[in-house]
Symmetry: D2
Subunit: 337 residues, 4 copies
């Protein structure tokens, strides 16, 4: 921590700050400059509320110099984390693709879609059993029967599964049926849920909150890792901005930023990130070109009659054509898909 004193700070004010730093077990380094005095507080304290210093008299600003996360940081763990589940690898050379409908609706629907996305090259089948919906009057998901269908169909196709867990109480059910536990954007800071998932030993797909900074995303990952679960896959799915030509603004630059700050793999969700079918392909290509470790894409064989989010689901033929493009783009940057 560095405490920057006002240019007009008195010696007495400076001494009070020093005393407080010492009281909190910091080693203090004082730098007296032409304009200002800086006080460096050296110590292993990731969890300080810097505002306590900002409010002292004579203090101009307080700068935290340690990242508030540790286990998730590349400084702590320079090598990439590679999440391996069966034959599927996330965070390595390969770009992994998760695809499927927004919600499980029927066994037949899942069979048609799974066969199509598998054939096009997807390795992981996605579909929701519990749906967080902004309207209390909307379809809320089929629950356990959906999970059974998901598991059955994926097994037949030789695919892995990913599905969202919305609260702690659903966790046992999800653990029984799926390979990757998804935390939705609205739950990125549901700390009770994160704590429980930290105790699991299954990979977690952690979606960035609509208004979460990348630092907060890494803090949420830290919750999982602090519990001992290191198999964390991050997911950029769009942030809220003033622009409303798209549902959200897919922050493609989060991909290289996360790769610099953290060792964890990061994938992109162009379906939720744009909210409209005709924008999914360009943004999927952009994500892979920017170095994403994977994608999660909504596909539906009959989106007009989908029970949720049909408007952002690709038709199977569109998905297949997209996969061909992605394969070539991955090669350009030395990866496979």
């Amino acid at each position: 921590m560095v405490v920057v004193m006002n240019e007009t700070a008195t010696e007495e004010q400076i001494q009070k700050v020093i005393a407080k730093l010492v009281e909190m077990n910091f080693d203090v380094h004082r730098s007296t400059g032409v304009n200002q005095t800086l006080l460096g507080g050296i110590g292993d304290h990731r969890n300080i509320d810097t505002r306590n210093f900002e409010l002292l008299d004579g203090v101009h600003e307080v700068l935290r110099v340690t990242t508030p996360y540790k286990l998730a940081s590349r400084a702590f763990h320079p090598e990439n984390t590679v999440v391996k589940i069966g034959d599927v690898v996330l965070g390595g050379e390969t770009v992994a693709v998760m695809a499927g409908p927004c919600s499980v609706e029927t066994q037949e629907q899942m069979e048609i879609i799974a066969a199509a996305v598998k054939k096009a090259g997807a390795q992981i089948l996605r579909a929701g059993a519990f749906k967080p919906r902004t309207s209390p009057y909307s379809f809320q998901g089929l629950g356990e029967p959906a999970l059974k269908i998901l598991q059955t169909v994926a097994k037949r196709e030789g695919m892995l599964t990913v599905s969202e867990v919305m609260e702690v109480a659903q966790l046992p059910l999800l653990l029984e049926y799926v390979d990757i536990l998804q935390v939705g954007a609205r739950n990125m800071q549901n700390f009770n849920l994160l704590r429980e998932l930290g105790k699991c030993r299954k990979p977690v797909l952690l979606k960035r909150g609509l208004a979460a900074t990348i630092e907060e995303l890494l803090m949420a990952a830290e919750y999982l890792m602090a519990g001992g679960n290191y198999q964390v896959i991050l997911c950029e799915r769009g942030i809220r901005t003033f622009e409303n030509a798209t549902r959200n603004t897919l922050d493609i630059s989060a991909i290289p930023v996360v790769h610099k700050l953290s060792h964890l793999p990061i994938i992109a969700d162009p379906s939720h990130g744009t909210g409209r079918r005709d924008k999914v392909a360009p943004m999927a290509r952009a994500a892979v070109a920017a170095g994403a470790d994977g994608l999660i894409i909504e596909v539906h064989h009959d989106p007009d009659n989908a029970l949720s989010d049909g408007a952002q689901s690709l038709f199977p033929t569109q998905f297949s054509a997209l996969m061909d493009e992605l394969r070539m783009i991955a090669q350009v940057i030395g990866r496979k898909l």
Copy 2:
């Protein structure tokens, strides 16, 4: 719903949209203009995904004309909702003040603070038992013992209580000890929690999410009301913007906007809305001047040693001076405090 066709849309494209509207049980009114054709879809469907029409050929834009919420809207319920709990009234002539520390720490701490805020005029004692913290290494709250202390101290002072419920499993405990159940900003769209709270018959203080629009706040209220719980108090507590001179941007204009769109009372939280003690008083005054139905303010007798959020807590003397100012401002606009 109004479907706006492109200026170049063909008659065939228009007919396809009409067919789809009819199929979805809308009455269709067609308006053929100089430049464009408009198709009005008339019917009682609050829950349509307009994107399904946007993707049809020839469609320029689809405009939803019904608000997605109903029970929370002033059109449905023109009179103000007045929440009465004992002698305390929210949404009426009086401006109600909730005050107390961020977290319950000890019985002694609560006694000192409760006595001070009661004397200054607060009617409701606030304090957290379960704390959502962005860092897994931070103080997480005392749990049930905190609730017991909160209840005991409030009773002695003749105050009501408000405390946050973070997940469904905590609900029985909260119901036993507190008078107003608080839903935190991060849980505004925790739909399972909202659904359970909708079944309760205790008032809910619903905080606006950091990135939630006012419409989404009212949708969340709708979840509660759809379950039969009409005692909903909304709370503006700051939104995330590009400005970082303050922790969040307290959106004071949300107060008159909510008063126009909804009949529900709305209060403001200047402590979380600014994150710094020296900004709390000006923003509390601003909120009351703009017509807020109440305030929730953090107060601590020893903020330097508070276990959480000390930096945004007022000293009791500051709170007392602020209450005097608020009393006079309330009078200016014909209210009492």
Copy 3:
């Protein structure tokens, strides 16, 4: 400047950073901590691109510790700047009110409105001669004839005038006719215009840009002051956020923030800040309650037929009632209006 090294930085990397700091004439203070090394660069350099250090190997982060503005900062000039123009004082005990129509339309229109706002207590008459309009098909202002009308009418009423200058070429004209030169939000970073205004010796009303941070607003003020023009009045007029229930989000908290960081007066514009007549009064009251040094408010006697922005103009009777409320709120916080 403080350069924070990575936890894994090598001694060689640290030495390279030190060499670069020395090369740029910084005194270097090194603090070696348990986890990390910090390098304090001490010197009077407000104008360093810190990214040049961020890109060096082994560097975690670079923190600027000097504000990039100096003349505008309270550290440099602890006393409030008080702008005096004739009998009108901005930044002192009094809250000054500027009022009038969006645009000058006719002499008669100006006479009616000026008489009304003067009677209600406004001291400064506002009206535009040159209008920046988002549509090329909209009314663009009357130009010089408008300025003549503004000056004539204000003189008769014993008022001062404020009007917007949109580009350097208009400056001579504005200097001839108005008392306060307004820089619009879209021109806050029109540096050529700021530079020319810095050479003038007339007060400038500098509006915060729609997407400008408070720091950038103070940097723009610095441009004016660096030229020798110290009579700068800042104006909060709403920022762009994700919320679109209001045209912009009036950032009331900018008022106490500016008062802490700078000695310059700050006023608020609730008309542009909300964009709708029915939100102007609550937000005007909020701004004064938060400590604004003044207000600028649009008033029109016939807003339905105004050539621009009628929807956000108060009727004269509304303005008069608002002024009565504001007078009482100002008193509560020890000010006059």
Copy 4:
């Protein structure tokens, strides 16, 4: 325009709205629904302030159905606009690349960089002569001598030139020396400048403002086109969001959105969009993968000593390697570079 009445609106209120629509020369279509009445106002009025209707009693909401721009819209002009300058084509099959330093510093600097970017495949040489700087204490550009150097060096290399015009007074100079006139992000709504550029017959590169919606960008293009200058190239260069891990958030999705709404070409600026050299290559690849019609990239042979923005400039070897990747990505989506 569609006026949506409140569910509780009276017949009298409805009649008043109809009367106002008729008064403003709209044809009125009334749709009476189960819950609400809709009034469609049909007519060729792109320039209506819808707030004038919103404020009428009984009105719930007013929806504009005509885009506020016309010449820039794809509905008006379904074919892509292809800007041809000499051998260079923007908006066609080819992806055009503009490259060069942030500012012209010396003839030697320009010769080195121009030779390098030309060899790597860039067709257009970029460099600033007038620099808008947020600090009054920063390098402000060399002015006319810079333009002479730019022109001389570009001619020798057989390249076109692009440089920024900051105000109307600079226009004659820029017209003399450069092939493409750049409007910077801060000037996107400098309507006087746009109006003058509309009278020119040289291509304009129009950068999206930091806080401008895509609709506003197209409105700014409309200003140019309304004056008769149809050679408009749009440029996405990053928007301001709450995330500050990057200088701005490059909105890659603006590329497919513009391609749907407008016929104008759009390029991307990954240098300003990210602000850091190590993020430029991934974002440049993403932009081309998403369908950008071109790129503008900062390159400097000695960025450590660049007078401005060195931190976001690529080294020539990095640029050359990037161009090789871009060439392959362009092919994947059926384009050339």
